[in-house]
């Protein structure tokens, strides 16, 4: 499974596109049709986001009475102010909670997965393949399937409705181990580990100073996808948390959305809150795209 990844050479982003002569032969019709498909797809993907952005800038009365896809009176900052002051700024608390769960959770999950994947790739020990296969089986167990059993366990320990109930289960990323193993096998040469040994560096130190640097694209990829998985996680907090001050932003907005029929004014807060809750993710993805795209290209497949 991994061997072919080790040996094959990979093209990097940017040095792409078949040679130019192949392009010239394509007819103008194919080009036009292809571009038309791309533009229709772009409209499909971006229109809802555009609508959300426009809707967030509107006053409550303009929201239903003006063109939904174009700006009216610009009330974005009033809306933001209304959102962050509503009920003593509970929304900011939710954003902070999401940042804590996703940030700390993804960071530690990446570290643990990287260590385990590296060990499986670079050391021979008894039960190595069995261990890897069990972890691979874990990839096929979806997080939602674990939510109820986790709730039962945490309630046995009296630990539901705490930060730990959401944070601890997020520290496990079987997919991260899988990705780390493939990437470590392909990108950390045995000679470098040997050289570090001869220099007298300990195994653990070699991992932290040498291997993590070589595995960086994979580590960023694992971090990002785990970050998104935790940020988007809904079932686990829904089951675990009762106390509003512990909610992540997704659960908070969900609860507000269920109250729209009783409190119509809250709809404007749901809209602006939705916009603010996706901006951190989009910014993170854009800022780190160089890393995760090459991480996906090199190890995310096969």
């Amino acid at each position: 499974m991994t061997e072919s990844t080790d040996t094959r050479t990979l093209r990097t982003q940017g040095t792409k596109k078949p040679a130019r002569d192949g392009g010239i032969r394509e007819s103008a019709v194919s080009r036009t049709v292809a571009m038309a498909v791309m533009i229709v797809a772009t409209l499909y993907f971006l229109t809802p986001l555009w609508w959300l952005l426009v809707a967030s800038t509107k006053t409550r009365s303009d929201f239903t009475t003006t063109n939904p896809l174009w700006f009216a009176d610009f009330a974005l900052f009033d809306n933001v102010a209304a959102l962050v002051t509503y009920r003593d700024g509970v929304f900011l608390q939710w954003l902070a909670n999401s940042a804590l769960y996703a940030g700390v959770g993804a960071l530690l999950a990446t570290l643990f997965a990287a260590m385990a994947g590296y060990a499986i790739a670079k050391y021979t020990f008894r039960g190595r393949e069995t261990l890897f296969n069990v972890i691979l089986g874990g990839v096929l167990v979806p997080a939602t399937a674990l939510a109820l059993p986790l709730f039962l366990l945490f309630s046995q320990a009296g630990a539901t409705n705490t930060i730990w109930a959401v944070l601890l289960p997020s520290l496990v990323s079987p997919f991260g181990v899988y990705l780390s193993r493939i990437y470590a096998a392909a990108s950390v040469p045995d000679e470098i580990i040997e050289a570090a040994r001869i220099d007298g560096a300990g195994e653990v130190r070699t991992f932290f100073t040498v291997a993590t640097r070589l595995m960086a694209p994979a580590l960023v990829t694992i971090f990002l996808f785990q970050f998104v998985a935790i940020w988007n996680n809904f079932f686990l907090p829904l089951i675990m948390l009762r106390d509003e001050s512990l909610f992540p932003v997704t659960l908070g907005l969900y609860v507000w959305n269920t109250q729209v029929s009783q409190i119509p004014d809250i709809r404007a807060l749901v809209v602006i809150g939705s916009l603010l809750s996706i901006i951190p993710l989009i910014v993170t993805f854009l800022a780190l795209q160089r890393f995760w795209q090459s991480g996906l290209a090199n190890g995310g497949l096969k």
Binding site: A119, Y123, A145, P149, L153, V172, G202, E203, L238
Partner: protein, 298 residues
Amino acid sequence: MARDTAVKASNAVSHKKALAVFLIPFGSLFVLFYVVPILYAIYQSLLTVEREGTFGPAVQVFGGLTQYIAVFQNEPFWASIGRVLLFGVVQVPVMLGVALLLALLLDSPLVRGTKFFRLAFFAPYAVPSVIAAIMWGFLYSPNLSPFTAVTSSVNFLSAELVLWSIANVVTWVYVGYNMLIIYSALLSIPQEIYEAARLDGAGQFRIAFSIKIPLVVPALVLTGIFSIIGTLQLLAEPQVFQSFSNAVTSTFTPNLTIYSTASVPNISLAAAMSVVLALATFVLSFTVLKLTQRRTAS
């Protein structure tokens, strides 16, 4: 010579220590939060509640397969499984087909501005399912939608259509993600393979069908399996849509059924449902894996 063996021996010892450092953090968390919950769910699913008389205290006793019999007789649960299977049979091929088409177009010389398109298609993946569902819920609702011309004649939130309206939300979020995985696989195809085809006068369509698609089958299998798992686990989108449409019941998908059963509370029945659902997911994704492996091998 003697010195050599000494070094080796001490290395072996330190490797063992290093291995422990590397494997214990992940290993213990994996056991605690993956393996133990699964075992505990199985244990819980074998219990049943007994009461002494009508008002006596409830006592959990071993009930064997009682809960599993109850699961198999539970019509809403099977109806919800049938619903997500129908959903998956339509939505997964459509989503992966669109993702494949867009990835092929991005990889072809027909399109300019690939970097922009790549990010535009991927952007919805950064939107949490809950938020995506809230957003589309607004877009579908007749009085808020920007597309009143459409929503006034078609009720996307009706009992007949709401499943497909949810399918659209899921497709919108995940097409870009799947496209990126397929596109990465396309990028790793060595250029030389195309040279021969081009010398033979093959056009882009021919190259796509005869070379590119067969070579990205592993990526399609991977995305297919993750999509099947995601479909059987549908929860956030229908849960949100309950606020927009009465047609989304509390047993709309298997996970909603489990959630509502657990809040009754009928924990043991819900645990048994979880076990059945997890097994069904595993069997289905494993079957797809084996079937596609056999086909690509022959």
